[in-house]
Symmetry: C2
């Protein structure tokens, strides 16, 4: 049995709590609010068994302040953030990271089994503990350093945040012509599905990769929104390899 | 039985041929290459039964030239392009459009049942015929005008071509840190899946929508590729609503 204390009551904490609850081998001893005096809350829980892992699932900016209050603990302390280094946790404690690479929404259940869990720790025994914890909820565990995680989080901004915004623009273009957004659904799914078996380079289609300047110019003229025109141009240029593919 | 002649041997033609073949009610009488003298090819097929519909599945630029050769036919003549107007087919014939809204790849089978088929015709009887043909292969038939179709095609460029390019950028960012592209797969799928039940506006997460300028600046600095920096900035600006949402 792995005993866990969850700190924070946001989406990540809720999702972890739900999936931990479904196992017989992870016990969520407490879910603490990150606000106020954490130490006294933990001390009030004297009757609770000592936890193996504190999981700090709070906003990036709050991680340091919360973790500082745990500077005396002998348990493993991890945060769940994609962009915060392990170094943000106090020196001298057993520290680590437990980052699920997924975009969580509130009223949206999720199958954890396929979610990549990115783990990091300084000591092998802590890494083993995180690996055991992760393997109880997902089939996909990766040992990822803080530096790698920072890049992964940035990549996630492109494939999730920015992609979703392109869906929004597509929807707006349809709306102008009284076409329902749902007509785009199969294309959106297929675009995502395709890169499961094929690199995005190979999957690329459309006027930009064909250098079909006639269609490109016609489509830019068709857009009235200056912002959409700019986005169209810059992504078209990027696809047609006018820029070096260097990070 | 609907008798069809397919003109063109590209991806769309191949996919239509495959899916028509699976029905007992659509007969593909011939598949003609669009190159050379189409009329003589059709005349060589004198023994073939007369077709109900000629489906011109060739590149946009070739549609007009191919269709001109069919100026004498009494059958319905349609093209399959998202961006070409019905007017590009010769006046005086029964003309229409049969546009499957999907991105087809060569060695990639596809389930047609969910693909939206956008049909257009000038006469009600031709619209009925196209509707019958479409309903035999998909559950999703839309009557879409040339003007609407042009917008739909543009929306598809955003949600397919541009989205796929963002996958490529995400993959390149991972590659720099020796992280496999496949780690992004569940996030890519979930991002697509989410907008089946939720508008992209509601599904939007990340630093841009939170106006988290600290993370935004850090991520821009993290990118070394000037092109990626520009894409990051313009999409972040767009998400944070610095621009009017006007087409």
């Amino acid at each position: 049995m792995i005993k866990v204390s969850l700190i924070g009551k946001g989406k990540v904490s809720q999702h972890l709590n739900n999936v931990f609850d479904k196992t017989n081998t992870i016990s969520v001893v407490e879910v603490l609010s990150s606000r106020g005096d954490l130490i006294s809350k933990i001390n009030q829980n004297n009757n609770a068994p000592q936890v193996d892992i504190y999981i700090i699932a709070v906003s990036d900016d709050a991680i340091h302040a919360v973790a500082t209050q745990l500077a005396q603990t002998k348990s493993l302390v991890v945060h769940t953030s994609g962009s915060v280094s392990i170094q943000m946790l106090p020196e001298g404690i057993r520290r680590g990271v437990f980052y699920p690479l997924q975009s969580f929404s509130e009223n949206c259940s999720i199958d954890f089994k396929e979610i990549p869990l990115c783990i990091e720790a300084e000591k092998q025994e802590d890494l083993n503990l995180l690996n055991n914890l992760a393997a109880l909820i997902t089939n996909s565990v990766f040992e990822i350093s803080s530096k790698q995680r920072k890049s992964l989080h940035l990549a996630a901004v492109f494939v999730n945040n920015f992609t979703n915004h392109l869906y929004q623009i597509g929807g707006n273009i349809c709306k102008q012509q009284n076409i329902p957004f749902s007509i785009l659904s199969p294309l959106i799914s297929e675009t995502a599905r395709k890169v499961e078996n094929m690199s995005p380079e190979k999957a690329q289609t459309g006027p930009a990769i064909r250098n079909d300047t006639k269609t490109i110019e016609a489509q830019i003229n068709q857009l009235e929104n200056e912002n959409y025109k700019k986005i169209y141009r810059i992504l078209t240029d990027s696809i047609s390899k006018k820029h070096e593919e260097k990070l």
